[in-house]
């Protein structure tokens, strides 16, 4: 078997095998899943090291070829996907609250397989196939993660939002393929499409919607915070934090750089989308009172940076976007894992009930600190470097406003993590948490691994950039200059200012909140104007899904119901009714009256003669 198929086939086979294993067995399922994901990881690593190779089958009657290719970007992505799968399966080994183990690992492996397929597909139709497959497992993942009704509801919400945007993607792919004359991305890239005419703009916008929705950008993000409360930490660490970001940003980069040549307007659109996502999500994140929910808003917010980076359209920005993508996946996974650990050990994720856990769970706390510092862009962790690249790329475009927005986002990110860290790991430990212990090793291992990566990619930013990001840019046919290195330039000082401002803000908040860390955001939360806005947001007024479900779906479904009734009536009642009426009328008419018949005949004859005679 070709090596390239292993990351796809092996998880699927293992997932199906999992279903055969009895629920009673204790470790078998977990071990099988871990083994499968680790083997896949090894295969992916192997593929990454090998030169690019392509596997192609004629598919769908020969018109479309099923092509898998490991160009450097795809191989990098595959490696990342496999890495996170392996880490999460190890982490989930003893994680509770993940629902049925059998189904959890089944979904995990299936997601891994389909994500790997989507990453490797060169043909857009094949990619769509995997992409849509992910949608199915997204639903089952959430729906089976908890027994509650809320889980099902959130699963449906996630499914519907992504189904709509996937449909956009499907349409976009079809139109793109039609315009380009081929569905092969590598073939299109030889002769990139331009946004000179309506259809191609339409196609690109549809692809864009599909990609950013997968990545979880505003305004398609609303299911992620809900999933944070209604689903498990491993799921959050795996899908919204890692896989979705990877794939979404990967395809965004492909579409924006590889398939299309964008113009200034579209660049502005992308950057605006990025900036808005950063700010809106981080504003929401800042005031959250739940561990996972706060993280989930950050997962959205960080997407904004990636979109902003890719939207700059210059190599530095794009490199920043991609680098941020992998960095974000690392530290956000790590953060969700800490959330899962805390939840497992302390039994809650509510910030007001937590506190002072650093002593009880030092490793978890340390991992949290590293990851939080990384996400906040504190030098010299990985998040700092990727954000620097993005800032640089943004400044190079000349749109300073986006830079300021991104910095503002950074400020709020740090502020919210100060609040989070303070309220969970420091301060006074509540009475109920006296006996809290460190999480088991299987949970700590991946956490530590990711924290380690954060540090490694920070101090040694040269390595990932050289190994992963530069080849990826080459795969996107981009020329670039020096991308790494620590520069004590203006940007660095701006970030220092941001850090200081955030600390200042946190102190202000603490003072205003009476020393309680979980209330450190209240001075902003309940500030004039913002208070009302937040209230509206809490009521989900800005959630397009809820809006649609409340305002649009009922009337539409009512209208559709009525339309259905109408058609039912039209094909059921009307023919029989009309024929009944007509034949009834004809029966009544044919009453045997001779004068009536004669009159009819004569009148008919008269009309006939008039018509034939030319009285038309």
């Amino acid at each position: 078997m070709n090596l390239i198929l292993i990351p796809i086939i092996l998880p699927i086979v293992s997932a199906l095998a999992l279903l055969l294993i009895s629920e009673r067995t204790r470790w078998l399922k977990e071990l099988l899943a871990i083994a499968a994901s680790i083997v896949s990881l090894l295969a992916a690593a192997n593929l990454f090291l090998l030169p690019a190779q392509t596997l192609s089958y004629a598919w769908l009657g020969g018109g479309i070829s099923f092509t898998l290719s490991t160009d450097t970007l795809s191989a990098f992505l595959l490696l990342a996907v496999s890495l996170f799968s392996a880490a999460i399966s190890i982490y989930s080994f003893s994680s509770p609250n993940k629902g049925s183990a059998k189904w959890f690992f089944f979904n995990l492996l299936m997601t891994q397989a389909f994500a790997a397929g989507a990453a490797l597909s060169d043909n857009m139709v094949a990619m769509l196939f995997f992409w849509e497959g992910l949608l199915v497992f997204l639903y089952t993942f959430i729906a089976l993660s908890q027994e509650t009704k809320a889980a099902k509801r959130t699963a449906m919400k996630a499914f519907l939002i992504n189904a709509v945007t996937d449909l956009c993607l499907l349409t976009g792919v079809v139109i793109t393929g039609y315009i380009a004359g081929t569905y092969s991305m590598s073939e299109i890239s030889h002769n990139k499409l331009t946004l000179d005419y309506g259809w191609s703009v339409f196609a690109y916008v549809l692809l864009l919607i599909g990609a950013v929705s997968k990545a979880g950008a505003f305004p398609f993000h609303t299911w992620i915070p809900d999933a944070a409360t209604d689903s498990s930490a491993p799921f959050m660490a795996y899908v919204p934090a890692a896989i979705d970001k990877l794939l979404g940003i990967y395809f965004l980069a492909r579409a924006s750089v590889y398939l299309f040549t964008l113009n200034g307007t579209m660049q502005l659109v992308l950057m605006t989308l990025g900036a808005v996502t950063i700010l809106v999500a981080v504003m929401m994140a800042f005031v959250q009172k739940d561990y996972k929910r706060l993280l989930s808003y950050h997962a959205v917010s960080q997407t904004g940076y990636m979109i902003l980076g890719i939207g700059t359209l210059n190599p530095i920005g794009i490199a920043g976007g991609l680098f941020h993508m992998i960095n974000h996946a690392t530290y956000k996974s790590c953060l969700f894992m800490t959330a899962g650990s805390v939840e497992r050990q302390a039994g809650t994720g509510d910030l007001s009930k937590l506190g002072g856990l650093f002593r009880a769970m030092p490793i978890t706390g340390l991992c949290f600190l590293i990851a939080a510092a990384a996400i906040s862009g504190i030098a010299p962790l990985n998040g700092f470097f990727s954000k620097e690249l993005i800032y640089k790329g943004t400044l190079d475009t000349g749109y300073t406003w986006f830079f300021i927005a991104a910095e503002l986002g950074s400020f709020l990110t740090l502020a919210s993590f100060l609040k989070l860290g303070h309220s969970v790991y420091f301060g006074k430990r509540p009475e109920g948490l006296k006996d809290t212990k460190e999480a088991p090793f299987s949970m700590l291992l991946p956490m530590m691994a990711f924290a380690g990566i954060c540090v490694a990619f920070g101090f040694g930013a040269r390595l990932p950039v050289q190994w992963f990001i530069s080849p990826s840019l080459e795969a996107l046919n981009l020329q670039h200059g020096l991308l790494f290195g620590f520069h004590a330039d203006k940007l660095y000082f701006v970030s220092v200012i941001v850090i200081l401002a955030a600390v200042l803000n946190h102190m202000l908040g603490l003072a205003a909140g009476g020393g309680k860390a979980d209330k450190a955001s209240d001075h902003i939360h309940y500030a004039p104007v913002l208070k009302e806005t937040y209230a509206l947001a809490e009521r989900r007024v800005f959630d397009i899904y809820e809006l649609a479900m409340d305002k649009v779906v009922p009337p539409v479904s009512y209208a559709l119901f009525k339309a259905d009734r109408f058609f039912d009536w039209a094909i059921d009642t009307v023919p029989s009714g009309v024929t009944g009426l007509l034949s009834g009328a004809s029966s009544r008419f044919h009453n045997g009256s001779y004068p009536l018949y004669m009159a009819l005949t004569l009148a008919g004859a008269a009309v006939y003669i008039l018509l034939v005679g030319g009285f038309k």
Binding site: T579, L582, S583, S587, H590, G592, L602, A605
Partner: protein, 476 residues
């Protein structure tokens, strides 16, 4: 007048005159004479048309215009079925048994005359003869319904005679002759065409009235329902088809020589055809009397023929002629079956019947074959004729007409299915408990007709070859 086929007119007439004298004291002789005459004629016709050598030669040896021969054969076939059926159906004591057979033979002679004649006036006279004989035949059993039907038939078709007369008079003035050929010659010259077109329209109207096309159909249900049972088969199966529909088709073939100058007329005829299809089919849906439903179905089927005739392309004319023949086969079967039902169960009211299949399996299944053929279900003969008609419509760009014709073909199936369910299938009604299958001789005509239906359907390629010969001779 086609001299070659004159014998088919004269011999029945001769037998008709002979019967009252020979069978004066032995009424059964009348049955025998009538049947033997028609059987002999039919055998003769079959020999003429279906010798292996003729078939092998692609029907090139058929005398005359081939259409006449075909229609004469249809007339004889239906006539034979009706007389054979009547021979076993008629009550012994009927006082005018001899006159009945004489009238049937006279009407057959007249129909032969109609289909073989070459000029308008003779056509008209023969058609009037048909009117007279039908009038007498309808009232054979002297029932109140029969008399009402006969009178309605006579008076409501009377305007037709008047209109045809006026038309013929105008022809006489304009053409100086009344033969079909003179019309063709006249239209190919540059003479003023106004009066001729108008006269054609009047004659067409007369024939349309006689065909029972909507809105001139009012007499048909009453006449068919009221008439003596075997006569209704005769009337619906062949008489009105020859006296009205055949004439319409014949005139339509002549309209082709008008070269578009009778466009309005053709369109009007087509419209009336479609109207008939629709009204007949819809009205048939709700009928409770079997015979009345068949009458409305007949209106609907006549609509198809008239629609095709109005279109007038060679393919359409072929379809029209074929449908005319098919109509004779399946409508005769159905009416004869209704007569059998009447004899066995004593009623044709569909609400009182039900489950007759158990009592009368042969009648039930011959009905099924006939109704499927009517609805145009392959591979029965009705399918091919409807296919030809709809194809012709489609090819001429009249897609709406084609689609509607197809649609009402489904309605046809619907009302026949309703009929079949009400009468033959389903739970056994008291009527079914009492009754039993009629005797074999009464079944024989229906079975024969079903055989013809199936054979025409299966051997359609041969028949198509024949109809093509017809089309070549009379249209092209």
């Amino acid at each position: 007048m086609d001299k070659g086929l004159l014998a088919y007119l004269l011999i029945p007439l001769f037998t008709a005159v002979l019967i009252p004298f020979i069978a004066r004291n032995r009424p059964r002789l009348a049955d025998i004479f009538a049947n033997v005459t028609l059987l002999a004629g039919l055998v003769n016709l079959l020999w003429l048309a279906l010798r292996p050598s003729v078939i092998a030669g692609g029907f090139a040896d058929i005398p005359g215009d081939a259409l006449s021969l075909l229609l004469v054969a249809a007339v004889y076939l239906v006539g034979l079925c009706v007389t054979f059926f009547s021979a076993y159906f008629m009550e012994e004591g009927l006082p005018n048994r001899q006159a009945y057979y004489s009238l049937i033979l006279t009407s057959i002679a007249a129909m032969t005359g109609v289909v073989t004649t070459g000029d308008f006036f003779t056509l008209y006279v023969f058609i009037e003869v048909l009117a007279v004989t039908s009038f007498a035949l309808i009232t054979t059993d002297d029932s109140a319904g029969g008399i009402e039907g006969a009178i309605k038939y006579f008076f409501l078709t009377f305007p037709a005679s008047a209109l045809i007369m006026v038309g013929i008079a105008i022809f006489m003035i304009s053409l100086g002759s009344l033969s079909f050929d003179s019309l063709r010659v006249y239209m190919s010259s540059d003479m003023p065409d106004g009066p001729v077109v108008f006269a054609s329209a009047l004659i067409m109207l007369g024939f349309l009235i006689k065909s029972g096309v909507v809105p001139f159909h009012a007499w048909t249900p009453d006449a068919y329902q009221g008439s003596y049972a075997p006569v209704s088969a005769h009337l619906a199966g062949i008489v009105t088809k020859i006296s009205g529909v055949y004439a319409v088709v014949k005139l339509a073939t002549l309209l082709r020589f008008f070269d578009g100058r009778a466009q309005a007329l053709s369109e009007l005829v087509m419209f009336l055809g479609l109207l008939s299809i629709a009204v007949g089919a819809i009205a048939a849906l709700r009928q409770t009397s079997f015979k009345r439903m068949l009458a409305f179905s007949s209106i609907s089927q006549v609509g198809y023929i008239v629609l095709a005739a109005g279109l007038g392309t060679p393919l359409a004319i072929m379809g029209a002629v074929f449908h005319l023949i098919n109509h004779a086969t399946f409508k005769t079967t159905l009416f004869l079956n209704s007569a059998s039902l009447e004899k066995a169960a004593g009623t044709t009211d569909m609400d009182k019947l039900g489950g007759m299949e158990h009592a009368m399996p042969w009648t039930s299944w011959t009905s099924v074959i006939a109704l499927l053929s009517t609805a145009g279900v392959p591979p029965l003969s009705g399918f091919w004729s409807k296919l030809l008609i709809i194809l012709a419509l489609w090819e001429s760009g009249l897609k709406t007409y084609a689609v509607l014709a197809l649609l009402f073909s489904i309605v046809t199936l619907a009302y026949f299915m309703i009929m079949q369910r009400k009468v033959f299938f389903g739970r056994k009604s008291p009527a079914a408990e009492r009754s039993s299958e009629v005797s074999a001789p009464l079944l024989a005509p229906a079975v024969l007709m079903c055989g013809v239906i199936v054979a025409l359907g299966l051997l359609f390629p041969y028949f198509y070859q024949y109809v093509k010969v017809v089309a070549e001779r009379i249209i092209l």
